[in-house]
Structure formats: C-alpha cells, structure tokens
C-alpha cells in the first residue's frame, strides 16, 4: 500500500477537489483506493456523501463511523484507538470520513510530541494514532493506495498526519501566497522529519511506528484561483518561479539550470480551471470527468468532460509511475 498526502499551508488552492477526483480516477483504473479526510473541516467527506448519509454519520454524541470515533478513547485518556470503519463509496473506493470534532485532538497532539523525547509510551500512542488507524483501515479494505486530505496549516494534526504517509504532493496556485507558502513548508517538513528520526528510536518496542520519511513527490499547479481580471503577464511570472522555489525550499537543492514549468520533472500536472463543470459535478454528486448528458453536460461540455478525464488520468499515471503502484 502506498499512502499519499496533498499538502500546502496555503488554503484555497483546490486541494480537496484534487484528492476527490484522484480517488475516483484510481478506483476507475481498478486500483483499490482509500480516501482519508484528516481536515477537521471535513470538506472531502461532504463531497463524497450527500446530506442524508452525513446525518447518519454525524449523529449527536457518538460518531463510531468516523475518524473521530476511532481516536475518541485516546482523546478521553481511556485507552488506545478504537477499531475504525471505512465507508464504502464505490466498488473499489472507500472513505474514512472526517469529523468536525477532530479539531479537539490538536492540543492533545501538541502535548504529546515533546513527551516522546522522554520515552513516554502514551505520548507515542497519541502521536502515531493516525498512522495506526490508517494502516488498519487500509488493510481492512485491502487498499492499494491511500489518499489523504489535510487542512492548510502547519499544526500538530498535520504533523501527525504526515507520519502516516509515504509521500507528499504539493498542490499550489501560481501566485505570491502559494510561493511564500512553499518557503515556510520546506524547512518545517525538514524539522519534523529530523525530530521524528530522533524520537522513533525511543518508541516502545511493541508499537508499530512509521519511518516518517514522507518523501516529496512533486507539485501540481492548480489554476482554480486564476481570475480573468488579472494580467496574464503577472500570472506567467509566478508560473516561471515555481520550479526554482520548489527545488530550493522543498528539495533543499540549489537550483542551477532551471527547466520551464512544463519541462520540470517535479511538476506532476498543470490542471486547468474546468469552469462550469465543477458546479455541475457538485450538483450531481460525482466527479467532473464522469458527468453525463443527463447531468447537464451536453454540447461543448462533452469535450470538456473528456479533457478533464484525460488530465486526471495522466496525473494518476504520473503519480503511479513515481511510486510503487502497479497500473495496467
């Protein structure tokens, strides 16, 4: 099983949309896929499920069907994780639903992190909770790939989430804030890796602990935020800066000769703004590339749906190529 997280501390770049569509794409390519919503805002969950299903998942009180249900015993200090359950979305697609209650875990995780240095077993159990939950669910549903969506910040929940993954993809928009975000992200990731590297040696022997390498796989340029009104020149300038900034801050290499964006091996995809397809997809509760004439995708939309399919198909294959996912 390969696990991937999509992470950028700049919000609003279309991260959740990306995870949602990639999950459907992998499932349609016959890869057993698990989508995990670790963002306390639970946007990914609400994209997958309609209101009636959400009401069933989030009744008042206990939430046994969500991630929150699984960490609740830890949160209350009454033991280790509870067995988590995945929600079956499609034939090869499962979801570990998120929960607004997850935000309450932030403080607990912040507390636990430094205590790991003191060989505190409880602290290790808290810190690796996400990792162990995800491993367990992925094994239950026999997932070949796990895609994780997290919130846009450098907090403790995200730090702990990163411990659960093999690789990171960075979605970004061609603007100042995204590039500035990259500059903060790179060093922070490095700090977290080093700290965990020291700490994991002190973990109790019987606890499965992640290796915490979370290797950077590349970036995906999202044009969602791109507005018509902005001069194309400025936009192009930000695009040109992405390869160097990524290499310098995320990979920690001094960039000498820099490729252009479309030639950069770290660039996994440049995704267009699919305009009216997205609202149509939200309405129909399915990915943009699966829209049919009955959903309103007629005339020129047919071609756009096809283009969108090709884009995500290419991205899915690109990522598969860089990891150990077998695609035929």
């Amino acid at each position: 099983m390969t696990s991937l997280v999509f992470f950028n501390n700049k919000g609003g770049v279309g991260k959740t949309v990306l995870v949602y569509h990639l999950a459907w794409m992998y499932a349609s390519l016959g890869i057993r896929t698990l989508a995990v919503d670790l963002d306390p805002q639970a946007n990914l969950t609400s994209m997958f499920l309609d209101e009636a299903a959400l009401e069933d998942l989030w009744p008042d009180g206990e939430h046994p069907g969500t991630l929150y249900g699984a960490i609740k015993p830890i949160l209350r200090g009454r033991g280790d994780i509870a067995p988590p359950t995945a929600y079956t979305v499609g034939e090869a697609l499962h979801l570990l639903p998120g929960d607004l209650g997850l935000s309450g875990f932030e403080d607990k995780l912040s507390d636990a992190w430094p205590k790991c240095h003191n060989k505190d077993e409880a602290a290790f159990r808290v810190t690796t909770a996400f990792y162990r939950i995800i491993e367990q669910v992925a094994a239950d549903v026999r997932a070949e790939i796990t895609l994780i969506d997290i919130g846009p910040n450098l907090g403790a929940i995200n730090r702990s989430a990163l411990l659960a993954v093999d690789a990171i993809c960075v979605p970004l928009a061609p603007d100042l804030f995204s590039l500035q975000g990259l500059k903060n992200l790179g060093p922070t990731l490095q700090d977290w890796r080093e700290a965990w590297h020291d700490m994991r040696k002190k973990a109790p022997a019987d606890l499965p602990v992640p290796d915490g390498k979370f290797k950077p796989l590349g970036y995906v340029v999202m044009q969602h935020g791109f507005r018509e009104s902005r001069p194309v020149k400025a936009y192009k300038r930000w695009m040109d800066r992405i390869p160097a900034t990524y290499q310098e801050y995320i990979l920690g290499k001094q960039a000498r000769r820099l490729p252009s964006l479309d030639m950069d091996p770290n660039c996994l995809a440049i995704l267009k703004h699919y305009r009216s397809l997205m609202p149509m997809a939200m309405e129909a509760n399915k990915p943009m590339f699966s829209l049919k004439p009955s959903d309103g995708a007629i005339g020129s939309h047919v071609e756009a749906v096809k283009k969108c399919f090709d884009d995500f198909d290419r991205l899915a294959r690109r990522i598969a190529n860089k990891t150990d996912i077998m695609l035929f």
Binding site: G30, S294, G299, K306
Partner: protein, 394 residues
Amino acid sequence: MLTRDQLLALLSDLESDRVERTVSTNARDKFGEAVCAFANDLPGYGKPGYLLIGVANDGTVSGLTVTDEMLTNLGGLRSEGKILPPPVLHIAKFSLDGGDVAVVEVQPSDLPPVRYNGRVWIRVGPRKAVATEREERILSERRVAMARSFDARPCQEATLDDLALGQFDAYRRVAVDAETIAANHRPLEQQLASLRFFDPNRQCPTHAGILLFGTNPRFFLPGAYVQYLRMPGTELTDIPEDQAEISGDLLSVLKELELRVRLVVQTRMRSVSPLQEQLTPNYPEQALRELLLNAVMHRNYDSNTPIRFYVFADHVEIQSPGGLYGEATRANFPHQNSYRNPVLAEAMKALGYVNRFGYGIERAQALLRQNGNPPAAFEFDERNFLVVIKQAAP
C-alpha cells in the same frame, strides 16, 4: 446451461475457442472483455461461449472456492451496463474433485457489435482482441439480418437527411471509447451502423436512429411522444390546467420531462416537533423520474399511442403502450426484466439516464417508501402498462 459432463468435456478440450479459462477471481475487466467477445461471436458459431473461472490454462482445476459474493459479482456483468447492449448470461457453480468452477455462459448477441466500456472485443482464436474497423463492419452487417427488436430494424422511408448529425456526433463521444474515435477513419454511415443507428444493406436509418437523432421522429413513428396533462382535480373529465405534447429527439424529450417532473414535485414544510421542521415533497423526484424513464425505455414504439403522463391533484398516472415483454411475466414482475428496445436502453445508459439495468422499479418503490408515499401500483394487460403513484399524506 451446460451439464457437468459437458463441463468436463470443455475442460479437457483445449482447442476450443469458445472457452476462456482463468484462475484469477477478481479481474473484473478481463471477465467483462471475455463476455463481450463471446457475445460478439465473430467466428459466427451461433453457439454460446464459456468463461470458466477456477481453471488453469492447461485445463486443470485450480482448487478455488466459489462464494456467493463472487457469483453475485459475476451477475453484475449483466446489469451494470458496462456491456452494451446487455448480453444474455447464465451463471452457475460446479463443484469438481479439484475445487469449484464458476461458469459464465454467454449467448451470441442478436445485436452485435457489443461493446465493453466503449470498445468492441472479439475472439481471435484462443485469445481476445479489440475489433478492427473491418471486423466491426462484419458484425454490423450480420446484426441487421437477424435483428429482432423493433428499434434495431430499418426505417425504410427515412434517409440520412432525416437525422440531426450534430446530435449523433455528441452521442458518439459519450458512447464510444476515445481512442477508438481518435483512430477512426470510417465513413459516417459505418459510424452510425456500428452503434446500430443505420442499416448498411438498405442504406437507411434504423428506428433507434430516428428516435435518438431524428429531426422529426413523429413523422415516421407517429406515437413517439409523451402526452402531458395537468388536471385541477382527480377526474380526467375536468378541463386541464396545462397540457403539452412532448416530442422530438430522445435527449430533448428526456430534458423536457425532467422540467415537467420538477413542476409536479412540490415541497412542503411540516413541523415534526415544536422546534423542528421537515421538508417533505409530495413525490420523490427520483421515483417519478425512474418510472417515466421506464416508460420511455420499454414502451412499444410500433404503436401509434403516446406515453400518457397525467398529473392529478392527488396522484400521477403514467401509461405506456405495450404490455410486459419477453421473459417478463405477470408472475415474475418486477424481478425479471427484458428489453423490448435494447438499442434505446443502451443509449439511455450511455447518456447517464440509467445507471444499472433491472433496478428501476425496486428503486422507485424504495424511494416512495422513504418519502411516505404508498407504493406505486402497476396494472398491465397485453397492450398497455399503467403506473399509478399516490401523493404522500400531508
């Protein structure tokens, strides 16, 4: 279905290209492709093909345990609508000395070419492959000679000029795999023929072609429209509040019906406790949709009668010409389905109006139940099919 002895004979007959053996149990795409290839029957055996799961290439039984779940999954091949038009399948499990074998028997299709995910698969000796343009042409020509369904038969008075070809082009992009389209050089008549909308021998569109893309389908098929009436009370004798004859090509008819259904559905606010209110529609929109789509898909287009979609103050009636068809009978309705119009069914699946085959009525009933409506009542005789849906109690 074959007998145990026939199966044993097939196991050892390694030469036969009507048999595909496999030991893997979860290669759904491979199974789909194999079923599609047998249904196309390019060599023209006119006999069923067999997919044997749990048998190695050399004919030995691999020691598989066939579960119920697996048989159900195999049954899904028929109803999921990935193989179009829907093939005729029989599935059985045999327990042999070395382990279980799941057998899928595939009858050759009356309406080739059959597609799996938009691609035409055929048998080439002991293997399968995607059909070339030439092979697809052979299949299209063979089909017309033996087409039994009304929608696949030629509409002899019509010509290519009676079709709106822009509509066809858009449909083709939805129904046919993109790579096949990109590699395509065939003339328009053959593009139409390979999707069963044109008869290459008589050089005219089929009835399905006219229904889907005709500029004026009612000229050739006078009953091909929906009569919509909205009555103020509960009697048909009152003066209608609104009426329309919904006609045109299939996609326009379906779009128009959708708008009418939205007008029928009215949502009321109901208080369930002093602090809570609940929104209750008088009819679940999806259930009305399913039942209307059923009428459009299964009606008899040979008749001059329209589908009648009558909306009364307290109930809705949908009446369509043509009684139960084929294997569907009074005794097994609605659990057994049969396709009077397989080409139309295929188109409605490709356009996304139908998701799976054979679940429409059960789904409608479930939605009605959840919404608090009485179950839909069905009445049918030899010539007509009527559904009555009562409003939910306020």
